[in-house]
Symmetry: none
Subunit: 206 residues, 4 copies
C-alpha cells in the first residue's frame, strides 16, 4: 500500500528536484516532472496538492540538508581558533553542497530563487542563508576582536558568502573559469577562499 506510494512520491520528488534545479520553477512544467518520474499528470496534484506544493517540498528537503551543514560546521569548529572555524565551514559547505555525489542542486535552487523569487524565498533565507551568515559573522567578529554589531563584521561575512555562492556550478563560472569549475579543483578553491578571506578580514582590523 504505502510501499508503492512512497516510490512514486519519491520519484516525483527526485525528478522535480533535478528539473527545478536545472531550469527554475516557472520553466519546468508539471508534465515534464511527471514524465521524468514515470507518473501520471495528476500525480503531482494528488501527492503535493499543486505544483507549488511540490516545489515547497523540494525546497524543504534542500533546506534541511543545508541547515544541517551549518550546524555540522559549527559543531566541528567548537572551541577551535576562528581561522580553523572558517576553514571548516568552507570545507563542509563545499563537501556537502557542491561536490558531486552530495547535493549540488541545492545551490542551483537558490540561484533560481535569487533571480526569480517565489513565495518560498523567505524560507530559504531564514533557514539556510541566515544561519550560515550569522555563523560567518561570529567568526568574523572573533577574528576582528570586535562585537557582532560592528559594521565591519557584516561586510566581512558578505565577502566570504559571495565567494561561496557565486563561482560554483553556474554557467558563467563554467564558461569563464573552466579550470576552477572542474570537480577536482574544488578543494583547491576552498583552500583559496579561506586564505584569501582570512587575509581580507585581517586587513579590516585597523
Amino acid at each position: 500500500m504505502s510501499g508503492k506510494d512512497r516510490e512514486t512520491r519519491d520519484r516525483l520528488l527526485e525528478a522535480a528536484t533535478t528539473l527545478f534545479a536545472a531550469d527554475g520553477f516557472k520553466t519546468v512544467t508539471v508534465r515534464d516532472i511527471c514524465q521524468a518520474a514515470g507518473a501520471n499528470v495528476a500525480a503531482v496534484n494528488y501527492h503535493f496538492g499543486d505544483k507549488m506544493g511540490l516545489y515547497h517540498d523540494v525546497l524543504n528537503e534542500a533546506i534541511e540538508k543545508m541547515h544541517g551543514t551549518t550546524e555540522a560546521a559549527r559543531d566541528e569548529g567548537k572551541g577551535k581558533a576562528p581561522e580553523e572555524k572558517l576553514e571548516i565551514l568552507v570545507r563542509v559547505f563545499i563537501d556537502r553542497a557542491v561536490k558531486q555525489g552530495s547535493a549540488p542542486w541545492i545551490h542551483q535552487l537558490m540561484m533560481h530563487e535569487m533571480a526569480e523569487p517565489t513565495p518560498a524565498l523567505d524560507l530559504v533565507v531564514e533557514r539556510v542563508l541566515r544561519p550560515r551568515f550569522d555563523y560567518l559573522k561570529e567568526i568574523a567578529a572573533e577574528l576582528l576582536g570586535c562585537d557582532c554589531a560592528d559594521a565591519r563584521v557584516e561586510k566581512a561575512a558578505m565577502s566570504v558568502q559571495s565567494q561561496l555562492m557565486l563561482p560554483i556550478k553556474n554557467p558563467f563560472a563554467r564558461q569563464l573559469m573552466p579550470e576552477l569549475s572542474r570537480e577536482e579543483a574544488l578543494d583547491g578553491l576552498a583552500a583559496h577562499v579561506v586564505r584569501f578571506s582570512l587575509a581580507g578580514i585581517c586587513a579590516m582590523r585597523d
Copy 2:
C-alpha cells in the same frame, strides 16, 4: 512614418529593459511590455521579429554599456599602480552599473541569465564578463608579480568578481544585509571590496 516608428521601438526597448531586468525573460509577457510601452500587441513582433529578438536587443544595449565600463576603467587606470587600478575598476563598476540613476538593470539582467540562461548567454559572457574578468586577471597578475597564466591569478579574479556580483540588488542581500543594501552604503561597500581584495591577493604571494 519612421519618426513615430522609432519612438515606438524605443519605448518598447525601454519598457522591456525594465521588465526583463525585474522579472526575467520567461516571466515577462509580450503583452506586459506592449502595455507598458503603450504599443500594440503585435508591435514586438513587428519591430523585433519575436520576443527573443527584443530580448537580444535589450541585452545588446546593456552589453554596450557594460563593455564601455571596463574600457573606461582600463583607460582611467592606465599607467597607475595595480592597487589604484583595482580601486578604479570597482568604483566605475559601482557607479555605472549599480547606483540608481545609472543602469542598475544591467546587473539584474545578468543575474537572470545566470539562473536561467537563454541562448543569449554567450553574448553576455564574452562581451561583458570576459573583458572585465580578463582585466581583473591582469591586475591580479601585476599584484602577484606573475604571469596571467599562473593558477593563482584566476582564483584572485574570481574572488573579486564574486564580491561585485552577488551582494548587490538581489532579494537575498536585501533580506540578509539590509544595511549594506542601502543606496548610501554603496561607496563604503566599494571601498571595502577593494581593501579586502587587495589584502586577499597579497596573501597569495607566498
Copy 3:
C-alpha cells in the same frame, strides 16, 4: 463486514442527499460526498457503481417520501369536500416536504432536476409530480363539476402546482420575499395558497 458496510452506505446516502440538494448533481463532487461521509474516495463507486448510481438512489428515496405524501393526502381527504381535500393536500405537502425537520431537500432536488435535467428526470415526474398533479386535477374537476378531461382542469391544477413549487426555499424567493420565506410564515402561506386557489378555480366555472 456487512454491518459496517451498511453504515458507510447510509452515511454516503445521507451526505449525498444534503449536498445534491444544496448544489445539484454536477456541482457536487464525489470527493465532497465521501469526505462529508467520512468514507474513502472509492466508496461511492464501490457501493453505488458510479456517481449517477448514487444520485439515482438519493432520488429514489426522495421519491418514495414524496409519493407517500400524495397518498397520505388522498387518504386523509377521502370522502371530504373538494375544498377540504385541497386544503389537506397543501398542508401535508408543506409539512412533509418543506418545513424544517422534515425533508426540505426533496424540493430542492426537484428544482435542480428542473433546471438541469439528468437522465433521472422521468422518474421524478412520473412517480412524484404526476400523482400529485393527477390528484390536483381530480380535485379541480370536482370543484368545477366537470370531467378531468376538460381543458380547464389542467390549467387549474397547474396554477396550484406552481404556487407550491416556486415560492419556497430558493434564492429568488429568499431575496424577493424575505418575510414569506421565514419558516414561521409557512402555515400562513399554505392558507393563502388554498384560499387564493379555491377562488381562482371557482372563477373558472362560467
Copy 4:
C-alpha cells in the same frame, strides 16, 4: 476591422446564450461555445476576459430585454384599471419572454440561476424580478384597496409570479402538461392566469 470582430463576438454571444440557457453555466464548456460559434478556444478569453465574463454579458443582454418588458407593461397600463394592468403585464411578458421568435432563453437562464446561483444572481433579481414583482404588488394593492405594505399584497404578487415562471418552457411542464406547453396554448394560458389570479386576489379582500 471592427466588422469581423463584431461578428465573432456576436457569434460567441449568441452561441453562449443558447447553450447556457439549455444547460446552465457549469455544464457548458468554453470549448462547446467556441465550436458552436466557429471560433477559437481563446476567443472567449479575448473578447470577454473569461467564461464568467461571457456569462455576465449574456445575462446582461437578457436582463435588458426583461427590464424593458416590465416598463412596457407599466406604460401600456398607465391610467387603466388594475384588472387591465394585470392582463397587460401577463400578455406582454408572455409575448416577449416566452413565445418563440422572442427570447425564451431568458426564462431558462433564470431557472438555472435559481437552481445553481452564480455570483450574477443579484443582478437578475434586482434588475428583472424585483421590478416586475414590485409592479405586481402595486396592482395587487390597488385591487385590494390597501397599502403596498399590507401583508396580503406580497402573497398575491407571489401567486401571480409563480404562475408566470414555473409552468413555462421547462421539462417538467412539457412532460406533465403537454397540451398547455404547446406554443398555440400560450394565449389561452395567459388569459387563464389573469382570470384565476384576479379571482384569487379578490378573495383576499375580506
